[in-house]
């Protein structure tokens, strides 16, 4: 087995606020191999973006603080590097693209200035060579007439074009890992299809790893090799994309799949996950999902009274399994069920998944690449003809 490109182990991040320390990331572990696309899925406040930013050490300190864990990239712990060493990693070995390209491009510099800056910084070439590299990287992302585009400003371009410029900029130094934080959320669906197609093509050519942060399960299903589902600052399920969609184990993952309207399946009523996405400033005790969990309610209805407890929820009160609420008062991470390998190559953190009690506590490491990819026809007419 080759070494993973990136392994995050038990990462813990805190932010000090006026109301004290909050813990948006509480013991996250995940692994990425070269050429792999690892999706990180979750809702607002689950810690997915904080995890991504921390890989580049872009968490502002203060108020942010790395409280524990390690982020090993090609054998080095990024959390131990000096700021100077870290600057050499950023943009060169690991690059990042963001959701809203307009806010991450500087409006007062031309596209060319911004791409060339990174190339000059990392590649030790003359400015003429840097311009050539920049032109080539625009051409690689499908922008015609790149020589002229280099002299344009971000506001002169459409949203889809700007996202291509961001990708060109991120990839101009041939990074080994690309962190894509909701790269297509702000785009229309036909432009999203273009951008994802482009990322897949570039990834294949360069054997680049991608950490794909998203909340869109459709984007995950089509692009990811491995999926990590996050909830309340922890990974609660980790598996290959096929296993996760075929056999979701955690009740939250199950709920997400059920509550999503699907094309071609006109259900009369959607199933829901009740309650609200929890706020990092007020995590509930125990398993952070128990106030919304369907499974623990069902089990509690048939369990002996001494194994259940009554909790208050947004909707009133509910009876749940005591094990899900059990909390140890020392650490903010306490009381969470651990991530265990409940099936081969399939991790979940729920007391009431099958095999959980006997499953080993291991770090999720999955070296897998999907076989089936969706077939794409560029401007094709096959299939268009009804």
């Amino acid at each position: 087995m080759p070494d993973p490109l990136l392994s995050i182990t038990d990462l813990q991040i805190g932010f000090s606020t006026s109301r004290g320390m909050i813990h948006p990331v509480r013991g996250v572990s995940m692994t990425i191999y070269p050429g792999q696309t690892v999706a990180v899925v979750g809702e607002s406040g689950c810690g997915k973006s904080v995890t991504a930013l921390s890989v580049l050490r872009l968490i502002p300190q203060p108020p942010g603080k790395y409280l524990g864990g390690s982020i090993r990239f090609q054998g080095r712990d990024l959390l131990q590097l000096s700021e100077r060493e870290m600057r050499r990693v950023r943009g060169k070995d690991i690059a990042m693209i963001f959701q809203e390209p307009m806010t991450s491009l500087n409006p007062v510099y031309t596209i060319g200035d911004q791409i060339i800056e990174a190339i000059l910084l990392h590649q030790g070439v003359s400015s003429r060579e840097a311009r050539q590299i920049a032109e080539q990287s625009l051409r690689d992302v499908g922008i015609a007439d790149p020589g002229r585009r280099l002299d344009e400003y971000p506001h002169q371009m459409s949203g889809g074009m700007r996202q291509r410029v961001m990708i060109a900029m991120a990839l101009s130094c041939q990074p080994k890992l690309l962190i894509a934080d909701e790269p297509t959320t702000a785009l229309d669906v036909t432009i999203q299809a273009q951008i994802l197609e482009l990322l897949r093509k570039l990834q294949k050519e360069r054997n680049m790893a991608i950490m794909l942060i998203t909340h869109d399960l459709g984007v995950v299903a089509e692009n990811a090799d491995i999926v990590n589902v996050m909830y309340a600052g922890r990974v609660i399920e980790s598996a290959t994309v096929e296993d996760l969609f075929d056999r979701p184990q955690h009740p939250y993952t199950e709920g997400l799949f059920r509550s999503m309207p699907r094309l071609g399946q006109k259900a009369t009523r959607l199933q829901t996950i009740e309650g609200m996405v929890p706020n990092p400033a007020q995590w509930p005790p125990g398993c952070k999902f128990h106030p919304r969990c369907h499974r623990t309610r069902q089990l509690a209805a048939n369990a002996p009274a001494d194994q259940t407890v009554e909790i208050r929820t947004a909707e009133g009160s509910a009876r749940v399994m005591a094990r899900c609420v059990h909390d140890l008062p020392q650490l903010p991470t306490s009381g969470d069920p651990e991530l265990r390998e409940i099936l081969p190559q399939h991790w979940a953190a729920c007391h009431f998944t099958e095999n959980y009690d006997n499953a080993p506590v291991t770090l999720p490491v999955i070296e897998h690449q999907r076989e089936v990819r969706r077939e794409t026809v560029e401007n094709g007419v096959e299939g268009v003809v009804p």
Binding site: A144, M260, G264
Partner: protein
């Protein structure tokens, strides 16, 4: 606690009266007449330049749109940004002045009404916005936000208003004691519930839902969609449901209209449209939606280029520069009936982007020649009946 109980108590007689009103209205409209009838609606925004703000052109955001919304039913309006779907919703409610065309609500000409009669009409036609934070006044309590329309329209005041607000809050799944809180104290999903409570406060029978769930988390979206569905069942409200998410539109709508560059290019019942799309734009739009299945079966058609600017739309069929179907037809047609995209000016002069500024991705790469049917370039196809279910209309010269 007691105040909550009284609130719950008064809710019982309150809700049925709300339900009866529109239900009676539905019978009125049942004699074949649609609740809302939109005909040849156009909304053009002037583009002004220079010191004297001379009008140099128009952004044709909505350019000849016609449809009916029936009582108690949902019409889904889907399209990409810049297609004009939001402008349609706002023009119908007279939040934006129309350039031409007509909107009738129960046979009343909405654009002709003035003063008191217009104000009365507004009771019946409401809107729910995408971003619940920017559509709720941060300095008003929830109780005042929901209660204000009741006072303005002289429906309830004092303790009666309080009771109405409490029952509305309960109806949308919020604790009535929340009425003393401010918008910032709520999560996105709760704020959207508040926006819904305000919209139904006057017992309207038509609501424009402008992207009501696209700003919400996935697990919250389904809660809001179910709530809107329940309200429609109970109160008989008709929705114009505007969204860009095709799966949400399919789930929620009885009938669906697809917009491209200010026009409706296809309209059919939701089942028919998704099972049997006719317009090449609808087909590629549907194929672009990511499938939540790791072993996808459908093929994806990636369209080249982007939606052109509504200030300078292509001639003839607005979709012809990107259309795969006309290319295929042109390859088999007589040369005299076809035109080359290069001769028509694509590229080198790239088209302005859909948002009205800047340039988009080119439709052709260098040295490429693509031919399209001359008819598609010269004449705009009308929305006409296509093969399949009755009422399935599409605007395309080529499709069957």
């Amino acid at each position: 606690m007691t105040s909550q109980q009284t609130a719950a108590g008064t809710q019982q007689p309150d809700i049925p009266t709300q339900a009866q009103q529109p239900a009676g209205g539905r019978q009125q409209a049942a004699d074949g007449q649609p609740l809302v009838r939109v005909r040849d609606l156009r909304t053009h925004f002037p583009i002004r330049r220079g010191v004297f703000s001379r009008t140099v052109g128009y952004v044709k955001a909505v350019d000849g749109v016609s449809f009916d919304v029936h009582a108690g039913k949902t019409l889904g309006l889907v399209g990409e940004s810049g297609s004009g779907k939001t402008t349609v919703g706002r023009t119908i409610l007279r939040l934006i002045p129309a350039t031409s065309g007509s909107v009738h609500y129960r046979g009343q000409d909405v654009f002709a009404l003035q003063g008191e009669r217009l104000r009365k009409l507004r009771r019946h036609m409401q809107i729910i916005f995408q971003d619940p934070m920017s559509s709720l006044n941060p300095r008003m309590t929830i109780g005042n936000i929901i209660g204000e329309p009741l006072t303005v329209h002289g429906i309830a005041k004092g303790s009666e208003r309080e009771d109405r607000v409490a029952s509305l809050l309960q109806r949308v799944g919020l604790d009535p004691s929340y009425r003393h809180r401010y918008p910032h104290e709520f999560s996105g999903g709760q704020r959207q519930r508040i926006g819904i409570a305000r919209a139904i406060a006057l017992s309207p029978d038509f609501i424009v839902c402008d992207e009501p769930v696209s700003a919400l988390d996935v697990s919250i979206q389904s809660q809001i969609l179910n709530l809107l569905d329940d309200l429609q069942q109970e109160l008989g409200i008709a929705y114009l449901f505007i969204a860009h998410n095709l799966a949400v539109i399919e789930h929620f709508s009885d009938e669906v209209a697809v917009m491209y560059l200010g026009r409706i290019v296809e309209k059919a019942s939701a089942t028919e449209l998704y099972a049997n799309p006719k317009h090449p734009y609808t087909i590629s739009l549907l194929s672009a939606v990511p499938e939540p299945d790791p072993r996808p079966t459908r093929r994806r058609i990636v369209l080249r280029g982007e939606m052109p600017s509504p200030s300078n739309p292509p001639t003839g069929c607005p979709f012809h520069p990107r259309c795969p179907l006309t290319r295929k037809a042109a390859a088999e047609a007589d040369a005299k009936d076809t035109a080359s995209l290069v001769e028509l000016g694509y590229p080198p002069s790239a088209m302005p982007a859909g948002n009205g500024k800047g340039v988009t991705l080119p439709i052709l790469s260098a040295g490429e020649t693509i031919r399209v049917l001359r008819k598609c370039v010269e004449e705009c196809p009308p929305l006409e009946q296509k093969k399949g279910e009755g009422g399935h209309v599409a605007a395309c010269w080529v499709t069957e």
